[in-house]
């Protein structure tokens, strides 16, 4: 089981044209603080306590992994130091693996490999300093993945990489085995079992679902039924599933509280971290993924972040100033620019669901994708302007 923890630095919704060249404070401090506080209260703190409890109860047999973005960690340091503290406690148990990704939850691999490498290394350093672990497993932003990424990551000495078990890459094959990326020789590829993962993440509280209510016992029995047809089951989900996406009254915490007990009723089942999988299992075959896949939406592609003219324009604009920003050698500018590479900004500009008023709106602080785009470009224009003026001075 791996849980994703991420909170973007949201931009001020009122950052207007008039602020360009005048106001260099871009972040919606209030919203960021409120959201972090809320999610910490509803999810991170109670969920971490639960995980600690389970690790304690099963004496090392309950093992999990987290990927926590650098900017989420930064916000916890700023707003909720108790969340950091509780993750540190989890790290100290030895039963928790921390996964490496881009510090800024960016799509930099697609646009700038050097920047991608820097963001990965920055995240690695952050994990080392907070949790005293050197990550050997990599997951890219939103499980975006292709052969080239796997090769690049193998080159950075990672042992395991995670991806979506999308139908278009698996075909008839099962996600419940260890694979190897095409063109790689060492690194292991773990593919998300999206059916079982989404049963918990999306369907658990859906009263129209034929399997409602989903009990830990029933769920464990589904996993048990895989025996003989697979070696591992990769359950990947947002950590916020616990208490934030699925509210506490859905029984989500109890579901996880009793899940290990039911799963481990059969002695041939247990918990294992991605890094341990990589060490203990050999790949059954190679998987060829020439095109990008992700874990987003039904399409499992990149269209949540790139594709419409606004997203493309914003993306090109932010990477076009990379060299100039880095040249400034100003840590503040560079950090701010990197925050602008966070995928969420582009997600807000997505027009795919705009007309339907889809659930995705839940994550979007902006009224419309157009508002999101305008604020983003205003901020980027100011950042560019500031970097240039800083250079002249």
């Amino acid at each position: 089981m791996y849980f994703q923890v991420h909170q973007p630095f949201r931009l001020r919704k009122d950052y207007s044209f008039f602020d360009i060249g005048a106001d260099h404070f871009y972040e919606d401090d209030k919203a960021n603080r409120e959201i972090c506080n809320r999610v910490a209260r509803k999810c991170y703190i109670p969920a971490n306590n639960l995980m600690l409890e389970l690790i304690d109860r099963y004496r090392g047999k309950f093992r999990i992994a987290y990927s926590i973005t650098g900017i989420a960690l930064e916000q916890f340091e700023k707003y909720n130091p108790d969340v950091i503290e509780s993750f540190e406690k989890l790290a100290a148990t030895g039963c928790v693996e921390f996964i490496n990704e881009t510090y800024y939850h960016s799509l930099s691999f697609i646009y700038s490999k050097p920047e991608f490498r820097r963001q990965v290394l920055k995240h690695r350093a952050k994990i080392k300093s907070l949790f005293n672990q050197t990550p050997r497993t990599f997951r890219n932003t939103e499980l975006i993945y292709n052969n080239e990424l796997a090769g690049f990551i193998e080159g950075m000495n990672f042992r395991t990489i995670l991806a979506e078990g999308a139908d278009q890459i698996l075909g008839w094959r099962s996600p419940n085995f260890v694979y190897q990326p095409a063109g790689c020789y060492k690194i292991r590829l773990l593919l998300k079992n999206y059916k079982l993962s989404d049963d918990v993440a999306f369907r658990l509280s859906n009263r129209n679902w034929s399997e409602y209510p989903l009990t830990a016992e029933k769920y464990a029995s589904w996993i048990h039924s895989i025996a003989g047809n697979g070696e591992i089951v990769n359950l990947f989900m947002d950590y916020e599933t616990l208490g934030e996406h699925q509210w506490q009254d859905t029984g989500i915490f109890d579901f996880f509280r009793f899940f290990p007990e039911h799963l481990m009723k059969r002695p041939d089942f247990g918990f294992i971290t991605p890094q341990e999988v990589g060490r203990q299992y050999d790949p059954v075959s190679k998987i060829d993924v020439p095109y990008f896949v992700s874990w987003a939406d039904v399409e499992r592609d990149l269209t949540a972040w790139i594709g419409n003219p606004m997203q493309n324009s914003a993306m090109e604009m932010v990477y076009a100033v990379e060299k100039e920003v880095l040249k400034s050698k100003n840590a503040g500018f560079i950090d701010m620019w990197r925050k602008m590479t966070t995928s969420d900004h582009f997600y807000y500009m997505c027009t795919k669901w705009f007309s339907d008023g889809d659930v995705h709106k839940y994550f979007n602080p902006f009224e419309t994708p157009f508002d999101a785009y305008l604020v983003y470009t205003n901020v980027l224009n100011d950042l560019k302007h500031t970097v240039r003026n800083g250079k002249e001075e």
């Binding site: 044209f17 008039f18 003219p309 324009s313 604009m317 419309t368 302007h385």
Partner: protein, 438 residues
């Protein structure tokens, strides 16, 4: 000379240029010793102005004696000699609505007749008005017409020599008042349905416009451009139409405070609703052309409207987000600020009866490029004018003005010279002459 004026908005209850123009005209008339009573749908409980006297239609008692007692829809229909155009097909839904209104009034009447001495002219109106431009606009326009009946009737306390109605919203009221009072009617055309909707006009609105124009004794158009439209599209005798150009509200002239410009690049401004009528796409396409040649310039589109999402998407496609900005709808100080920050103002209207924004730009010493399809181009002959569709020429004109400060200065100076002759008092003077001639 006393004028009964029908309007739809009046400061501070304004949503567009119509209210501002009405304010300018009435103030000008008062200075020319013309007494004005100004009717609007509702004052929303506020006192609007000392002069002129502004009355909300919802405060005007209906002339109940004029309305026969009716209890059934059939009776109402028989009575409906009301508004000939209402019987035509597109109006049938409104026809029903009118029936209801009449029935309601009748019911009130029959109830109140029981205590006749109580209500005479002391009761309030039974009609409610929002004075907005919402869903029930057509209903309100027709109800407003009933007020015309009342105020023109024998029992009305209002005495006047001329009736003056501003734009189609008030034409029904104007014509009803004329029929009731037998006083001459002047309709004032600030914009036609063709300016608002292009070729996809709302037939109901057109019918009311034409009804007003046909029944008026004189028509005032805000420009020759509008006069031509009225002649061509509404088949009106040009001899019946007078042109009185709008003016600038000098009282709204702010001292140009030199705001600090945050960005050193030259700034080209579009300010107006982002709708088909204003031609925002021509501004955007021209900006993209300019940016291919000149880098030291930024473009700002200020305003909101149904075309905004399309404009933002197109701007993104053109990949000029680092030089083209959107502000959304601006008000108050932000409007002043954006003018003051600008180095060039462009009005690309596809069809603009008059257009006040170029004047406002000039007040901030901003040179202007305006479309030939606007009334204001008749007045500001020294402004650079282009055909709204000629994107290349517009881009060329933008480049020459932003690169040549002397040219820019020259345009401002000469246009401001022209502006000296156009004040509301002059406009009002012309209007007064029209009153006297009818």
């Amino acid at each position: 000379m006393k004028v009964l004026m029908f309007g739809w908005e009046f400061p501070p209850l304004i949503s567009g240029g119509l209210g501002t123009a009405c304010y300018g005209i009435t103030r000008g008339l008062l200075k020319n010793n013309v007494d004005v009573t100004f009717i609007i749908p509702t004052r929303k409980g506020k006192k609007i102005a000392d002069l002129p006297r502004v009355i909300g239609a919802d405060e005007i008692p209906l002339a109940l004696e004029e309305i026969p007692l009716m209890r059934s829809t059939d009776e109402v229909k028989k009575h409906l000699r009301f508004l000939p155009f209402l019987s035509t097909a597109p109006f049938s839904p409104y026809c029903t609505a009118m029936d209801e209104t009449y029935l309601r009034i009748s019911a009130m009447y029959s109830m109140k007749r029981l205590r006749k001495k109580d209500f005479e002219f002391t009761s309030g109106s039974v009609l409610d008005f929002t004075g907005d431009y919402g869903k029930n606009l057509m209903q309100e326009v027709l109800n407003y017409g009933l007020i015309g009946d009342s105020i023109g009737s024998r029992g009305s306390r209002e005495k006047f020599d001329v009736i003056h109605a501003h734009d189609w919203l008030t034409f029904v009221a104007g014509v009803r008042a004329k029929i009731a009072s037998k006083k001459p009617l002047i309709v004032h055309v600030h914009a036609t349905e063709f300016d608002r909707s292009g070729e996809n006009i709302n037939r109901n609105v057109y019918d009311i416009e034409k009804y007003g124009m046909d029944n008026a004794d004189r028509i005032i158009a805000v420009s020759h451009y509008t006069k031509n439209l009225i002649v061509r599209r509404y088949n009106i005798d040009p001899a019946k139409i007078e042109v009185v150009h709008n003016a600038v509200d000098r009282e709204r002239q702010f001292e140009r405070y030199r705001i600090k410009k945050n960005l050193k690049e030259k700034m080209v401004l579009y300010l107006g609703r982002v709708t088909m009528q204003k031609g925002p796409e021509y501004f955007l396409e021209a900006a993209a052309l300019v940016l291919k040649k000149v880098k030291n310039v930024r473009f700002v589109m200020a305003g909101s409207g149904d075309m905004l999402p399309r404009m933002i998407t197109r701007m993104a496609e053109l990949k000029i987000a680092d030089r083209f900005h959107f502000t959304g709808f601006l008000r108050g100080m932000a409007v002043e600020k954006i003018y003051a920050m600008s180095d060039l103002y462009v009005m690309t209207s596809v069809s603009e009866p008059f257009g006040l924004t170029p004047f406002e730009a000039l007040l901030y010493d901003v040179p202007i490029i305006i479309s030939k399809q606007s009334g204001v181009s008749e007045v500001l002959k020294n402004a650079v004018t282009i055909n709204f569709w000629d994107v290349k020429k517009l881009a060329g004109a933008m480049v020459s003005i932003i690169q040549n400060d002397r040219l820019a200065r020259n345009i401002v100076d000469r246009c401001k010279e022209e502006m000296k002759d156009i004040g509301w008092q002059n406009a009002a003077n012309k209007i007064k002459q029209i009153y006297e001639a009818v």
